[in-house]
Structures are given as structure tokens and as C-alpha cells.
């Protein structure tokens, strides 16, 4: 694996449609500036974290980048032949898309957000429409939150980008919804099947009942007003970590395998 090759791949892809980059940046800047001016005019704030709009904007960027741009060079046969036969390994081609979509795009967007808050302030001051707002600082807790939000969406949409040829974001969210609904029904069915008897036997007026206890399941699980108490909390936390990291590794890994297997 060669870092220069990855850099050259990123450069080749981004510069293969230079106008698009400037159009995207210009459009994002214009839209964000207008929205910031309007929101500051309507409800002045000194704290960006109040804006759920920033996270929403990040979601829009994720859908645009991961739904339309990522792996786009492999989706059309007349272009894909060239990218597939470009002298670079599959790992390098995958990493070029990975680095662009996971790091360059969100960081670039946060810089655009900073410039947008500067421009919004400029307009607010020039036209006297209201009080100024603090500049958005990408190197802050707020910036880190936005990045984490984007990064959580990344694995799923990144896989969708290589798996679906057209309207990948829509199809990914659609598939996820269908899967989650199916999973919810499956879990509900199993819970009903396995625990319906237990619930009937559960004695809510048991002598162990305290003011704080809402429900107990045997001796290992107790739900109280302060939260869930589980005898095997360590195991539960371990499972939670496993699912979290598994989610990232599973979809990133799957996207790599898909790229490896792609055919024209």
C-alpha cells in the first residue's frame, strides 16, 4: 500500500470534475449563510449547540457525499473500466474513497460552516439585522460532536454507496427501515413466546418490592426509577461495545469486499 498512490487517486477523482467541487462548496456556503442569517434574525443565539440545524446540515452532506459521490467512479461502465484498471490496489482505491468521505468531506464542510458564520455575521453587522453570533470553531466540542454524528452515519451509507448503483442513500435508509421493522417484529414475537409465562408469574406485589422498584425479572434484572440494574452489567457493556465496533467494522469490511468483487 502506497500513500502517494492514495493521494494521486484522490487528486485524480476530485480534479476530474473541478467545477463540481467549487459548485458544491459555493452552494453550501450560500445556503448556510442565508439560513444562519435568517435563524439569527428570528431567534438570536450565543450558542451554536442550540442549533440542531448544524447536525441536520451534516446529515444532508452525508447523504450528498455518501449517496452520490462516494464510489461514483465504479458505477458507470464507461468510467469504471478506467478506474478498475488504474494501477493501484483494491485497498488503495477503497482507502481513497474512505479518506475522502470520512475525513476530507466533513472537515471541509466544517470549514465551510466557519466561513458561513463569518459571512452571516458580516451581513448582520452590515445591515443591522440583529446581534452577531459566535464563529463556528471546528476544533471544539461542538465540531467533535458534528464529526462523531457524521462518522456514525458513515459505515452504513459507505456500504450503501458501493452496494447500490442508483439512489444509494434512499435505498440504504429504506432497506434499514425494512430491516429494523422486521427485527422489531421478530424480537417482539420472541419476547412474547419466551417470556409471556414469566410476565404472568411476575409478582409485582412481591415482598421484595420497594418504592424504587418498578419491575423485576427473576434475580438478575431490576428496573428502577434510576435505571436498569443488571447483575451481568459488565457483560452487557461488553456486548454494547461489540455491537458498536462491530457496526463500523462490519459495514466498512463489507464495502471493501464488495469493491473487490465488483464486475462490469
Amino acid at each position: 500500500m502506497n500513500a502517494t498512490t492514495i493521494y494521486n487517486l484522490i487528486l485524480a477523482k476530485q480534479n476530474s470534475s473541478p467545477n463540481r467541487i467549487w459548485k458544491d462548496v459555493g452552494l453550501a456556503l450560500a445556503i448556510l449563510t442565508v439560513l444562519l442569517v435568517i435563524s439569527q434574525f428570528a431567534e438570536p443565539t450565543h450558542n451554536h449547540s442550540e442549533y440542531t440545524g448544524f447536525a441536520l446540515a451534516m446529515l444532508v452532506i452525508a447523504v450528498i457525499e455518501l449517496g452520490g459521490r462516494t464510489f461514483s467512479e465504479f458505477k458507470h461502465e464507461k468510467i469504471a473500466y478506467q478506474w478498475l484498471t488504474l494501477p493501484a490496489t483494491i485497498t488503495e482505491k477503497w482507502l481513497a474513497n474512505f479518506v475522502t468521505s470520512l475525513i476530507l468531506v466533513p472537515v471541509g464542510f466544517m470549514l465551510v460552516l466557519t466561513v458561513a458564520t463569518m459571512l452571516a455575521n458580516l451581513f448582520l453587522m452590515l445591515f443591522g439585522w440583529g446581534q452577531s453570533m459566535p464563529l463556528f470553531n471546528p476544533i471544539s466540542a461542538e465540531g467533535w460532536f458534528l464529526f462523531k454524528f457524521y462518522a456514525c452515519l458513515h459505515p452504513l451509507l459507505f456500504f450503501g454507496a458501493i452496494y447500490f448503483k442508483k439512489r444509494s442513500a434512499l435505498k440504504t435508509f429504506g432497506s434499514l427501515s425494512v430491516f429494523l421493522m422486521g427485527f422489531a417484529f421478530y424480537v417482539a414475537f420472541n419476547v412474547d413466546f419466551l417470556f409471556s409465562g414469566v410476565v404472568e408469574q411476575m409478582d409485582l406485589h412481591d415482598h421484595n418490592w420497594t418504592e424504587d422498584t418498578v419491575v423485576t425479572f427473576g434475580n438478575s434484572l431490576r428496573i428502577t426509577a434510576d435505571g436498569v440494574e443488571f447483575e451481568h452489567m459488565g457483560l452487557l457493556k461488553f456486548m454494547a461495545y461489540l455491537v458498536t465496533y462491530g457496526y463500523f467494522l462490519f459495514f466498512w469490511g463489507l464495502s471493501y469486499l464488495r469493491l473487490k468483487e465488483i464486475e462490469l
Binding site: 480534479n15 473500466y81 478498475l84 488504474l86 493501484a88 464486475e263 462490469l264
Partner: protein, 278 residues
Amino acid sequence: MITLSDLGFTYSRKSTVFTGLTLNIPAGRSVGVLGANGAGKTTLIKLLAGLVSPTQGEVSVLGFNPRQRQAEFYQNLFIVPEESELPPVTGMAYLKLYSVFYPNFDHKRFSHLTDQFDVDTSKRLTEMSLGQKKKFLVAFAMSTGCQLILMDEPTNGLDIPAKAQFRDMVIQHQSDEQTFLICTHQVRDLDSIIDSVVMMNETHAHWFDLGELPEKISQVSHRSEEDVVLYSEQRMGNQLSIVVGGQPHATDIDLELLFNTFHNNYDGLIQAIAKDAA
């Protein structure tokens, strides 16, 4: 250089492109690939370039398995497709962006070839005509220094002078180690530049060395009774035949006639060549 062993490819159970193709192509040759429409010429190019997986048999190109898609493999293979969509950048920008991937890229040669082809590299590739794009890609391909260049219908879209320029370029700029594999159905565009030919249909593929062929079979316009005729057809009032063995009054073997012989009497043709070789 290229080895196909019992190669087969099917899109589905009902749609077999070809099956059981076996052949060897040595390095340093200009090879024409001739086949009827739907015989799988483009599919063969895709298989050689690792763009699809064979459903039967094996392919080896430059000592690599193309499906592994190794960077070293692609440093020595360039494909000029029949139709391509080039990015909306100038020819020079394209050169700067993509030549870095080829360690043996020859910038002087590229400049020379684009001049010879009369391609304006300051123009955006999307604003070029189909013929100009093709000439640009061919010039780029020939400058990469790749050992194997695959071209799918390279003369499609070229006007008559450009076809002549294309032939001159291939003859002038092909190095000893370089192999050109050119798929086409326009046989006459190729016959002056190729030194060997792969003929293929759904079940057979064979590599013919055009230099050695006249020792094994001949094309005659007046056959004698002793001649073993492999194929014969009427052309412009003449009865042209492909017969077994070298003949004193033979004319140059016409590729179309050879292809028709291959298509209509495959077994006879292969036997004639094998018998003579033995």
C-alpha cells in the same frame, strides 16, 4: 504473455457467450481479434483485463491472474474501450492526473503522438469529437509503456485519414516487448498492422501466426483438382479458395476469407495447420 485454458463465460444459464477457449499468445505481437457479432470479443477483453471473472477455466495475462487486480499487473496493461466517458478536463490536465500511475510513461512520446494525430490537448476532453477522444486515448495508451495494450474497436469513429494515422502509429511506435491486442469487426483496418490473429466463435478460439500461415494453407483463385479445399467463395467473378499446403501461385491470405474458413470449416482448418506443423 496470454494463456487461456478451457475458458468459458456465461451471463446466465441460458446465455453462454463462449466455452472451452484455449490458446496461447506470445509477447511482442500485434494481434487482431476477429469474431462474429456476439462472439464475445468485448467479453474476452474484459476477462483479460480482470473486469469480469471467468465462469469456466483459467486466464493468465503477463503471468498474473487478472481477477486479482494487482497494481503491478495494471502498470503493464492499458485498455482502450470501444466507448468511454472521459472527465471534463483538458487533455493536459488528464495527462497530469493519470500519467503518474504509470511508472514508464513517456511524455515525449505522448506529445509526439498527439501532434501526429492532430489532437489539441488544451481542449476539454468532453468537447472533443468521438474520433478525437479515441485518438487521444490511443496516444495515451501507447505512451504508458504498458506491455499489453487492449483495444476494442479502436478505428470506430475514426475518419479515413485518421485510420491511416492509427495504422502508422501502431507500426512506428510498438516496441519489441509490447503486445497490442486489437478487437475489431473492421478487418480491413487491421490487415496491414497485425502479424497474427485470434479468431473466435462461441466454442473455439485459435491464434494464427500470419507469417507462418502461408506454409500451411494458401489462398488461390484457380484451384486444381488435387487441391484440398477448406473453403471457397465467389468474389467479384473470381472463385477464391483456401486450400491445404503452400502453393506456388498463392496470393496473400485475405483475413475475411480466413475468418469464413474458420467459421465454416474449423476442424478442417485446424487439422491442416496441425498436420503441416507435425
